[in-house]
């Protein structure tokens, strides 16, 4: 191989590496404060986990028990913050379920409501109008149903949901669930296999 061809090949191999290094975003946008109702675990915990999730996403329902288990195992060491990222293009009841959960958060019952939404996901996911299912969950977790109903028709909570979704997009989240354990990103069911290891790594730092 002659020298000129060697140089040309080296330049062509190096170009993509340099271009990506120059353009790639390596820091993500800020995480906006979430209301205390949507946070669980120790408020002073060393490791903060931010979850971007969609109540109608099957993978989100699958990872939910893992999140509970990890909160139990790492009690006092981790804090979980829930952020809405309803994938409205593919999940028709994603926004309605997030709206209902935000109404539960308004009554400080976000987490029980969140758990029931995931546990009953198959029952309401394909409904034309899931309101009756969401009302039933509201009664089950002992919400003030009159307040819940008023909130559910009020568009104000939607603005908070959309703010979370915009934050997710700014942080280049494209799939749910996406977890940020400290700075490390875990997408999808990887959280089930790698969640504990990543928490351990963050705790060691």
């Amino acid at each position: 191989m002659n020298f000129r061809r060697f140089i040309a090949g080296t330049i062509l191999l190096a170009l993509p590496l340099i271009a990506v290094r120059l353009v790639k975003q390596t820091t993500w946008g800020p995480i906006l404060a979430a209301p205390p109702a949507r946070q669980t675990g120790d408020p002073k915990a060393k490791v903060v986990i931010v979850e971007y999730s969609d109540f109608q996403c099957p993978s989100c329902a699958i990872v939910d028990p893992t999140a509970h288990k990890l909160l139990e195992v790492y009690k006092g060491k981790i804090r979980l913050i829930y952020k809405y990222y309803p994938l409205t293009k593919i999940h028709k009841n994603a926004m309605a379920s997030a709206h209902a959960a935000e109404c539960a958060a308004g009554q400080d019952q976000f987490w029980p409501y969140h758990d029931r939404l995931f546990q009953t996901q198959r029952a309401w996911a394909d409904l034309q109008d899931p309101t009756t299912s969401f009302m039933a969950i509201a009664q089950e977790v002992k919400l003030d149903t009159a307040k819940f109903q008023t909130c559910y028709v009020d568009p104000a909570p939607i603005a908070r949901i959309e703010a979370d979704a915009q934050e997710a997009q700014a942080r280049e989240v494209t799939a749910t669930p996406t977890f940020f354990v400290g700075d490390e990103r875990l997408v999808g069911q990887v959280f089930v296999t790698d969640g504990a290891r990543t928490i351990e790594k963050e705790l060691r730092q």
């Binding site: 990506v20 997408v187 999808g188």
Partner: protein, 150 residues
């Protein structure tokens, strides 16, 4: 020197395949690797130990093959690599469709992706174009580094 029509066709095919691979690889490389790993996981085809290396390495392989095709450097090798890549993409997406896996998008262009069916059409076109380039590039192709730096 007289230019044969087949050389012009091969040049257009080379530019098309090169541009698509370069663009696809670049968009994927710019997105967080974990996002692409999650897309690969959804295909239920790869062992979990391969997901991270594939999600980091594949975008660069696409960019290198695309760049070599575009500039016409080691054109036959690049065309062969593009043919193999296209076959691999076709098999992956096709098998997901056959197994009834509900993929929201193929993950081919990072966050801006095609539906799996559109991807199949694109991959078939890439495969045909790559094979044309491979067949024609026995001699150094038109407007290529292979011709200017023999």
């Amino acid at each position: 020197m007289r230019i044969r029509p087949v050389e012009i066709i091969a040049l257009l095919a080379r530019v098309a395949v090169g541009s698509v691979l370069l663009y696809a690889g670049f968009l994927k490389a710019l997105s967080p690797a974990a996002e692409f790993a999650a897309v690969l996981e959804a295909y239920k085809l790869f062992p979990s130990s391969l997901l991270t290396p594939l999600s980091i390495g594949l975008p660069y392989v696409e960019m290198w093959v695309g760049l070599f095709m575009l500039t016409g450097f080691c054109t036959r090798v690049a065309a062969l690599a593009a043919t193999i890549l296209s076959c691999a993409f076709l098999t992956t997406v096709g098998s997901a469709l056959l197994r009834g896996i509900d993929l929201a998008h193929c993950g081919c262009f990072g966050p801006q992706s095609l539906t799996p069916r559109h991807t199949m059409v694109l991959d078939v076109a890439l495969l045909l174009f790559s094979m044309i380039v491979f067949r024609v590039a026995k001699l150094p192709p038109l407007l290529s580094l292979d011709r200017s730096i023999p």
